[in-house]
């Protein structure tokens, strides 16, 4: 499940379900297109409905971080569930995209 919308200057990207390699390969380009589209001040990944993520998800986030950086926009992560939070913590990714 993937859904995005711009609201109050924030590009909200909600990814639900399970984010692994089988999903990442299919949503990568779509996300880059949206991020490159502009019209926002900040990118937020809403993980409140994401039940599972592995290191492929970290790679996906780093890739989108680079795209957002090329637009000079910051990225943050919203409400990761406990298992997703654990993977994100181990990856050290919160130092570049904070949890909000």
């Amino acid at each position: 499940m993937i859904h995005y919308e711009v609201s109050k200057g924030v590009l909200n990207i909600k990814i639900g379900g399970e984010l692994d390699h089988s999903v990442a390969t299919t949503i990568k380009e779509r996300l880059d297109k949206v991020i490159r589209g502009g019209g926002y001040e900040m990118v937020v990944f809403d993980f409140s409905d994401l039940q599972f993520m592995d290191s492929t998800g970290v790679g996906l986030l780093l890739g989108r971080y680079k795209t957002a950086k090329s637009m000079a926009k910051p990225v943050a992560i919203f409400r990761p569930s406990a298992p997703v939070d654990k993977v994100l913590k181990v990856s050290g990714i919160y130092s570049i995209m904070p949890k909000i």
């Binding site: 692994d20 990568k28 599972f52 290191s55 654990k86």
Partner: protein, 138 residues
């Protein structure tokens, strides 16, 4: 000794399938929710590596998983007959990846090692790789 063997093709849909089967098996040890998700994550890493690295997405190839229970320890092995790893020590380093172009993070082994109690990797170039992990439950 209680043991299961699961052989699946190197298909992306088997990442979810394999981790779910091993997680269902692990419930015999009455694990916590966190322990179950640790196991799922580690299995997902190993199966994804077999698909992406060992077999380069060749869906005809087999990945062989075994899971067994010894006391309160779950043992899981994930075995492929793919390209193998020339330098295991290097491969296991944080952020090391041979496929940065595919946005691999190089954190697969890091996560397996962190989420499981033990991690052991055996590999022969041109013959394949076996990842053996264990997790003490409770």
């Amino acid at each position: 000794m209680d043991k299961i063997v699961l052989i699946v093709k190197a298909l992306p849909e088997n990442e979810c399938f394999a981790r779910s089967v091993i997680a269902a098996y692990a419930t015999r040890l009455n694990p916590s929710m966190e322990e179950v998700s640790d196991i799922k994550t580690a299995v997902s890493e190993a199966v994804t590596n077999a698909i992406v690295h060992a077999y380069n997405n060749d869906a005809e190839k087999d990945i062989r998983l075994t899971a067994s229970i010894e006391g309160n320890t779950l043992w899981v092995s994930v075995e492929d007959t793919g390209v193998g790893i020339p330098n295991i020590v290097e491969a296991m380093k944080d952020f090391y990846t041979t496929k940065p172009s595919e946005e691999r993070s190089g954190l697969g082994f890091t996560i397996m090692g962190t989420f499981m109690s033990t991690l052991q990797v055996q590999s022969v170039v041109g013959e394949g790789t076996t990842v053996v992990m264990s997790k003490v439950i409770g």
